[in-house]
Every structure is written in C-alpha cells, then in structure tokens.
Amino acid sequence: MTIEARPYGPDASPDERVELRNRIWRIEDRLFMMVEVPVQTPFTLDVFFDRLDELAAGLDRFAYVVNLAGVKRPDASARARLRERVQRINSRLLHVGVVVDANSVMRAVAKLAAFAIGFRSISFHSSVDEAVEACRRALR
C-alpha cells in the first residue's frame, strides 16, 4: 500500500494507519527517521508523533530526521498541531535534521515551527545521509 497525495483523517482504514505508522522508525540509539506524507493533516501528525513517542519512550534526549521531500505546504490547522506536538517533546529533543529538496517554502514552514516553539537546533539538508550525520553530531 502507498500513501497517496491526499489528506488523511480519522476515517483512514486500519491498513492506512499501519502504513502511516511505518513511516517512522528507529535508525539507531536515540535517532529516528520520519518520512512525511505529501499532505500533512492534524490526524497524520498525531499518528506520526504518537509513534515517535512510543519509540522514544524513556529517552531523556533524542534526535530525528524528517524527510519533507515532495511535501506540500501544510495548512494552518496542521501547522498548529505540528507546533503543539513538537512542543510536547521539545525538552528532550536535541536536534532535528530536515531533508528538503529545492522547496524553500517547506524550509520556511520548518523554520517557523522551530522559531515558534523556541527550538533552534535544526538543520537543513538535501539528503537523508547528511541529515543523519548532523543528528549524530548533535547527539555526541
């Protein structure tokens, strides 16, 4: 099953929910990977961050890489939920490595969220490897 470029909500099927959850995984100790969906919604963000909460349970600090390639600009409700969810883990979050293609708008989205939360340890990369490396450096 592939996630389509449409907004997913609470009416998502069990398979779709599993597929959404599978887009977050542990890369190594304290480092996680998140591959965003093309259309972020409050629902998908909750699924993502609930999964991240599960994976990072018990960790006092961690970092994650988020791949925003191909992601459309989220609407205000999704951005509000993003701020809310990142805020909850902010005190344990050491670094976020953001993978963006040439999309400067998504760069602005990520920066605005980070600034709004008061979270400044964020870096932008054109590849996942670079982003992972940046997170590793932050975790050392």
Binding site: A80, S104, V105, A108, L112
Partner: protein, 299 residues
C-alpha cells in the same frame, strides 16, 4: 531608482500592512514565481502568518460559541429545573400546613412539644427550599432578560415597614434587634414586589452576617430619588471584596461558615438596575456594612 533591497522592504511592509487588515494577496503561485529562494521564504512566512492569524481567530470564535452554548444550556437547565421543583414544593407546603392544622384540630390543647417542634422545623426547611428555588427562578428570568418592572403608586415607607415586621422574629432569634427609623411617607411609582425582594435580601443578609448586633433600616427622600438602607454591625466586608460581592456566585464570607448561593446581591443589583436605580455598599471588616439603594420615585 530604488535598489532591489529597498523595493523588497517596501513589498514586505505593504504585505504586513495588508495582513494587519485581515487580508493577504500572497499566493502559493506568486511565491513560486519569485526567483530568489530567500524572497520565497519571506513571502511564504508572511502568507503563513496571515493564515495562522485567521485560523486563530476562527478557533477563538468557535470556542466562544461553544462557551455561549454551554452557558445557554446551563441557563435552560436552571430554568426548567427551578420551575419543575416549584410544583412539588408548593404541594409539600400545603400538605405540611394541612397536617399542622389537623394536629391542632385533633389535639386542640395538647399538641406534644416534640411534634410541634418537628412540624415547625419541617415548615422552615420547606420555606428555605422554596426561597432557594425562587432565587434560581429569578436568576433564570434575569439571564434571559425577562425581568419586568411593574410600577404602582405606593408609599415606600409602608413597603419597608412590612418587610421589617416580617423579619422581626427572625432577627430576635439571631440575637439582633431590628429597628426601622421611620420617616414620613415617601410616595412614588415603585415596583412594590421588587423593592420588597431587594430589601428582604438585604435584611436577611444583615441578620445572617450581623453577629447578633443591632440592625437599622432607614429611608429618605432626596429630590426625585427614594433612598433606603440597611445597616448592620456584623462581620463587614474587606475593601478588596466589596467590588465583587454584586457579581454572580460571589461571596465575601466563607461558605463553610455561612450558607447561601452567592446570588442574592447579584439579583438585588439586577432588580435595582431594572428599576433605574443603584445599589452600593459601605463597609469595614469587623465593623459592619451599610447597603444603600437609590431608585427614582417616578419610574
């Protein structure tokens, strides 16, 4: 010719001014049409700022509406519940009165003390319940804007005398003397039942918080205004509480020591204002309070 930088600053300021009025002409297409990625980020940021403001306003409006719905539901419940409670209380009052009469008829000279006392306590508790329900009905009427003022030519002094007389026994039971400093007649167009209600509340409070000390009720005519007051020498109200005691559900005295819903003074203020008047308090903690009501003589 302005430089690109100056031109960009002007464009940004124009958009900020526009966002300040609740509009934004930036679109995803216009952002994409910008050649410089930094400029794209600036305009994307402005567009999102506008969207976030709009979203926040919508959320506030929705929350406010939810809050209003909740208040409406509460007021409706209050209204229905208080009216539903009134009927059985009226029946209960009639039954107790009937029972009392029956006992006195059957045992004209020998009603056992215990039975008389129990009947008396039961009657007083039912009266108390009826007064509470009546308070709730008043709240319901006031919040739904259904307070009507029915004026009639009356002597305010006579209205006060009736109330003072009604409370004489209760005041004595609490250890207070209740004195009405009676002036000459004060004629005017008054809503007698509302004036009675306000005064009843003020005198009841004076007895409740008066610590068994003397209570004085007075009245005067000042031009076209009629004034009456209730003065006690009780626990008083600290200055920091005086402003809020006329608010709904507000009380200055601790609810653990003194019964009440915190609605009496709020109802009084609403009624006095509906009659075109004012109510005020002068008080000192541990010294006592004087509540003064002023209403126009010709409504």
């Amino acid at each position: 010719m302005p430089s690109d930088e100056v031109r960009l600053v002007e464009r940004v300021l124009e958009h900020i001014a526009e966002i300040g009025t609740g509009k934004c002409s930036i679109t995803d297409d216009s952002i994409a049409a910008e050649a410089d990625p930094s400029v794209q980020q600036i305009f994307a940021g402005l567009l999102m700022l506008h969207e976030d403001l709009q979203y926040s306003q919508q959320r506030q409006t929705a929350l406010l509406e939810e809050l209003r719905d909740a208040v409406r539901a509460r007021d409706e419940f209050l209204s229905v519940a208080s009216h539903e409670l009134r009927t059985p209380i009226t029946t209960l009052t009639l039954q107790i009165d009937g029972l009392s009469r029956m006992v006195h008829d059957q045992l004209p000279n020998a009603v056992p003390d215990k039975m008389a006392r129990r009947l008396d306590v039961t009657r007083r508790q039912v009266d108390r319940l009826a007064a509470l329900v009546s308070t709730l009905i008043d709240v319901s009427r006031i919040t739904s804007g259904r307070v009507q003022v029915a004026r009639q030519l009356a002597d305010l002094v006579e209205v006060i005398r009736v109330v003072a007389e009604r409370f004489g026994e209760e005041a004595l039971r609490s250890g207070s003397s209740l004195r009405f400093e009676r002036p000459g007649p004060i004629w005017g167009n008054f809503d007698v039942s509302r004036v009675d209600q306000v005064l009843t509340n003020l005198v009841a409070n004076a007895i409740r918080y008066g610590r068994g000390r003397p209570i004085v009720v007075g009245a005067a005519s000042v031009g076209q205004t009629a004034r009456f007051w209730v003065q006690d020498q009780g626990i008083g109200i600290a200055p920091e509480h005086q402003a809020r005691i006329f608010q709904r559900y507000e009380r200055a005295a601790p609810s653990t020591n003194y019964a009440g819903l915190g609605l009496g003074l709020w109802i009084s203020r609403q009624l006095v204002e509906a009659m075109g008047g004012t109510i005020s308090v002068r008080s000192e903690a541990d010294t006592g309070s004087t509540f003064t009501v002023e209403i126009p003589r010709s409504g």
